[in-house]
């Protein structure tokens, strides 16, 4: 547990930054100060300033607007839709399982990033559409894993005994199977969808055009501006890249932690 503290701390820091962004009153236009461009880290600007003299630390805080809430929505879509389809298939089996598997498998026909780009092109590259795309991209995996686990648990003696003793299906399904047997699995799969959203959002902002555009900040477009402007202080250039890498490393690490806990509980 002690070895995992850093990952929880990074995740909490991202959530805190999003909160700070909402209440901090940072103005992305008023912060422009060309006379202070490329300033070194100092008390007024901990991570220095960018090519327009804007405070890099505050822009990093503001950049969490682009991914924290939509990433949660991506997780909700993945867990909600994939979990529901997997539950249907795992509980009923037979033709229901085949039908739910076919529906859940539809988004998996295209590579995940391609699916998100297709949706962003057909509709618009808004955070909502990107979150929906990222969530849908993980529906096949979520449905398959939840379905397989529920299908195995459905045939266990304690489930049969509970049903024979008159315990209602919603309680057996909701409390005994989904909560007790699948909560860590669902949390892990939701975390994967959230991590994928962070990757997609920052990638699109880095590549330009379909992502967050200047003057709005994103870790992606901040990294891109650090690529082209070598006059910036090294700390100012590296800070968004390191923050993004740390966030994703934390999400991947917690995915592994949850997987281990899940395996221990299953054993």
């Amino acid at each position: 547990m002690r070895r995992d503290v850093w990952a929880w701390a990074v995740l909490l820091a991202a959530l805190f930054a999003r909160l700070l962004s909402a209440v901090g009153g940072y103005d992305i236009v008023a912060d422009v100060d060309p006379g202070n461009a490329g300033a070194s880290p100092a008390a007024g600007a901990w991570l220095g300033t960018d090519a327009l003299g804007r405070d890099v630390a505050w822009r990093m805080v503001k950049a969490t607007d682009a991914f924290v809430v939509p990433a949660v929505w991506a997780a909700v879509v993945s867990v909600g839709l994939g979990g529901a389809l997997g539950t249907l298939g795992g509980w009923f089996g037979g033709s229901v399982e085949r039908a739910s598997g076919a529906v859940a498998g539809l988004p998996g026909a295209a590579p995940r990033f391609v699916l998100v780009l297709l949706l962003a092109t057909i509709f618009a590259p808004t955070p909502g559409v990107l979150a929906l795309g990222c969530g849908l991209a993980f529906v096949p995996q979520t449905a398959a894993e939840v379905g397989a686990r529920l299908g195995a648990m459905r045939r266990t003696d304690f489930v049969e005994a509970s049903l024979v003793h008159g315990v209602g299906v919603p309680r057996v399904l909701g409390e005994h199977l989904l909560w007790t047997g699948c909560r860590l699995l669902l949390a892990r799969l939701g975390m994967r969808a959230a991590a994928f959203f962070v990757v997609v959002e920052t990638t699109l902002a880095y590549l330009g055009e379909l992502g967050v555009q200047e003057p709005l900040p994103s870790f992606g477009n901040m990294v891109a501006s650090g690529l082209v402007d070598g006059r910036l202080h090294l700390v100012s250039r590296l800070a968004p890249a390191i923050a993004l890498w740390l966030l994703l490393a934390a999400l991947f690490h917690l995915d592994g932690v949850l997987a281990r806990q899940d395996a221990q509980e299953a054993a």
Partner: protein
């Protein structure tokens, strides 16, 4: 070929390609249901509009649009290279992307299986930590480090201008090698591949057959390798499918021509025929990989033949 094997292969083929046709139908339905009309971007003149709608096949019924998409009748490009045949554009781009995709896929398989098979996980955080970075971030880090390192060395007189300088604008072996490495490692792909292979190996190591051999003091590596074949087929197909998506990013970051870059440009410029063609080709690639994986599994493991 036995009847069970033939039936299993037929069942898998129908499932995989049926899913692909359903997905392409869904794509065409979404395009038809999308707000606005592509012709609105070009003209407001009613006469010209009607002609373009007819020329571009926008008024075609759903089944005809799906059949056209599946049959490779994608027409001509609207905005990317107006008038050029989309099939030729996509075909040429695919040929350019194939070495990059294949190199990254093979690198993932070799490094992933080799890493997962190590009994002692020495400093196992290193590669996963590197792999957590998104593809674009790894590419960015390498480009910045190599360009600025070489620039400083040239400035200090330690180095002649290298043939690859400066990245990514100069076409060189280093740029291609970096692109392959970044595509293979980035966005957690290699890490999750290693974890999956290791987890399957652990399951097989605990199987009665392997434990019996270990108890007799006999080597188990060949048995483990054979047991791993069906799992590896599925994992390799999944990874291959994800690499199609990674191509979009890597080709943009390293300024390389190919199918990924073409798809991105088509998305940005809303060139619907190229977007549809790229989507169909990607779905076909994914379906093909899954089909190959299913065939390998069914052939390698007779127990799976009854479940098709």
């Amino acid at each position: 070929m036995s009847g069970a094997l033939a039936r299993a292969l037929l069942g898998r083929t129908a499932a995989v390609f049926g899913g692909m046709v359903a997905a392409i139908t869904a794509l065409v339905v979404l395009l038809k249901a999308a707000p606005g009309d592509a012709v609105d971007l070009v003209t407001t003149d009613p006469e010209l509009r009607a002609r373009l709608v007819a020329d571009w096949g926008l008024d075609a019924p759903l089944h005809e649009a799906v059949l056209r998409a599946l049959g490779g009748q994608w027409g001509t490009s609207w905005t990317l290279r107006p008038g050029a045949q989309v099939a030729e554009l996509v075909g040429d781009a695919l040929v350019q992307s194939l070495p990059l995709w294949l190199g990254a896929w093979l690198l993932t398989l070799v490094v992933g299986v080799g890493w997962a098979a190590r009994r002692r996980a020495v400093r196992k955080w290193r590669l996963p930590a590197l792999s957590a970075a998104p593809v674009f971030l790894l590419g960015w880090g390498l480009i910045v480090a190599l360009n600025e390192g070489a620039f400083s060395a040239m400035g200090a007189g330690l180095l002649e201008r290298p043939s690859w300088f400066s990245l990514p604008d100069t076409d060189s072996w280093l740029r291609n090698a970096l692109a392959v490495g970044v595509l293979a490692v980035g966005s957690g792909g290699l890490r999750s591949f290693i974890d999956s292979v290791r987890s399957r190996l652990d399951v097989h190591r605990r199987s009665p057959a392997v434990e019996a051999l270990v108890a007799r003091g006999q080597p188990v590596d060949r048995l483990l390798a054979w047991l791993l074949v069906p799992d590896l087929a599925v994992l390799a197909a999944e990874r291959g499918a994800l690499l199609f998506g990674g191509l979009v990013v890597v080709e943009r970051v390293f300024a390389m021509p190919g199918a990924g870059g073409l798809f991105w440009e088509a998305c940005v410029r809303r060139d619907q025929p190229v977007v549809v063609a790229s989507g169909v080709v990607a779905a076909l690639g994914v379906a093909g990989l899954r089909w190959l994986a299913d065939v390998a599994r069914v052939v390698a493991d007779p127990r799976l033949r009854g479940s098709a």
